[in-house]
């Protein structure tokens, strides 16, 4: 009997040393029954994308609190496209100014969760928007 489970990655791109939020998100995902790969601090977009492909994840959650999100998030999406892995959903969270959100979404970031987002809401969003990829 096939037992599919969502596999997600939580990643911290760039020179940002704060991962409390990312860790809490990872725990919430675990408690929701997902398998969560956490890759640690100071990751380049290239490292994140390679890890995501090797781990066969369905979603990458990028956390950024240091202001590099406009470059880093878009670079992750670009690399996923280059690798033909753009079936992987990308969402983001952290300190992200409201007026950056439309541009990030235009680039392909599916959702942005800013401070004050409830864990339950994020989990519900994942359940509704992320499916086990078929290819």
């Amino acid at each position: 009997m096939t037992d599919r489970r969502l596999r997600l990655m939580v990643a911290k791109p760039g020179l940002d040393g704060h991962d409390r939020g990312a860790r809490i998100i990872a725990r919430a995902f675990r408690d929701a029954g997902f398998e969560v790969v956490y890759t640690g601090l100071h990751q380049t977009p290239e490292e994140i994308v390679q890890a995501a492909i090797q781990e066969d994840v369905d979603m990458i959650g990028l956390s950024s609190l240091a202001g590099g999100h406009m470059y880093l998030f878009r670079r992750v999406i670009e690399l996923l496209k280059e690798q033909g892995a753009d079936g992987i959903v990308v969402c983001g969270g952290g300190i992200i100014p409201d007026d950056h959100i439309p541009e990030l979404k235009k680039a392909g970031v599916r959702e942005i969760f800013t401070p004050g987002s409830k864990l339950e809401d994020i989990v519900v969003w994942v359940k509704e928007n992320v499916k086990v990829r078929t290819g």
Partner: protein, 329 residues
């Protein structure tokens, strides 16, 4: 079928996305995966498998990271399977072993995969073994399997390796006792990591005396597990470990008399046992669940109509007698 052989070709060619998905399908118990594994089996048996096990926080992932670095310097390719526990409450898992190994993620000669124990009806051993086969068929020279060394399942996992390394740290006291109970027997090499800490020599001598107590096991020129001090984070003692792994490999080669030491009678027996067990349990449970018999039995026990032992008999006997009469379940 054509699609299947396509996947086989791609694995052998080392296609990362195919390998990544295949391991996912193994983990998720997708039935079609068996056909791919059957076809891949002919391409397995070449990689050398090393098991690394020990309690959480002893430095396994850091050690694996250093080993990857050494093997890569020798020009060897490496596959890593890092197993972390599934939460028994939610079924989810946080897989964090990659954190220590991420510097290798852009290296095409390294494939790292995190696996959760899942824990439904065992099965971890076989799914890990299948994942090893996939990495083997993809051409990795070394495959390192990292597990938290608790529980029978994980002991079985490390038993699939050719060389099993047990990692401990000083000052864990009773943990050594726990190791004595379960895992001492499967260790080929012992490592006392974080050896700059107080009590390293005491831990070393405790391990030594436990191994010596097993003296008759190591008689007749058989392999006697060495114990090494290590500070993996500073890359101290890692070369010595690799030398010992090399020596152990030589020893296995010699005792196999040139035959393939990965496919010994004993290993094949273990693997086949595991396969039959997993398959039977899965088929029986699928049947009981799909027919509703299982839930019905739960209800009758709950209602106090029957005890669980009798309920079990009622579930198992009719199905077993079908089997005995030569009919499939």
């Amino acid at each position: 079928m054509k699609l299947m052989s396509h996947a086989v070709e791609k694995v052998i060619a080392g296609d990362i996305r195919t390998v990544a998905r295949l391991i996912r399908d193994i983990d998720d118990k997708v039935p079609e995966v068996r056909e791919t594994l059957k076809a891949l089996y002919a391409y397995t048996g070449r990689a050398y498998v090393i098991g690394i096990t020990g309690a959480p926080g002893v430095g396994k992932s850091t050690l694996v990271d250093q080993m990857i670095g050494r093997f890569r310097k020798e020009g060897k390719t490496v596959g890593v399977l890092a197993v972390d526990p599934t939460s028994p409450f939610s079924g989810g898992a946080i897989l964090g072993d990659r954190i220590r190994m991420q510097r290798h993620s852009l290296d095409e000669g390294v494939f790292i995969r995190s696996l959760a124990t899942r824990g439904h009806f065992g099965g971890l051993t076989q799914s890990t073994r299948s994942a090893i086969d996939v990495l083997d068929a993809m051409g990795k020279d070394y495959i390192i399997v990292e597990t938290v060394g608790v529980g029978q399942d994980e002991v079985d996992v490390v038993k699939t390796a050719q060389t099993t390394v047990i990692v401990v740290i000083p000052g864990m006291g009773d943990d050594i006792q726990a190791i004595k109970a379960g895992i001492l027997e499967v260790g080929d090499i012992f490592v006392v990591n974080k050896a700059d800490r107080e009590g390293a020599d005491k831990t070393l001598s405790e391990l030594r005396s436990m191994i010596d107590m097993n003296q008759n096991k190591y008689d007749q020129g058989k392999w006697k597990p060495p114990i090494l001090k290590m500070e993996a984070v500073f890359d101290k003692g890692v070369s010595e470990l690799l030398e010992e792994i090399g020596r152990h490999r030589e020893c296995l080669l010699k005792s196999a008399g040139g035959a393939n030491f990965r496919k010994t009678k004993e290993k094949i027996r273990e693997e086949l046992t595991e396969l039959v067990k997993d398959r039977l349990i899965q088929e029986v449970f699928d049947h009981l669940r799909d027919s509703g018999e299982f839930e019905k039995a739960v209800e009758t026990v709950l209602a106090g109509e029957v005890d669980p032992y009798t309920a079990c008999d009622h579930l198992v006997f009719p199905n077993l007698s079908l089997l005995r009469n030569g009919r499939p379940l």
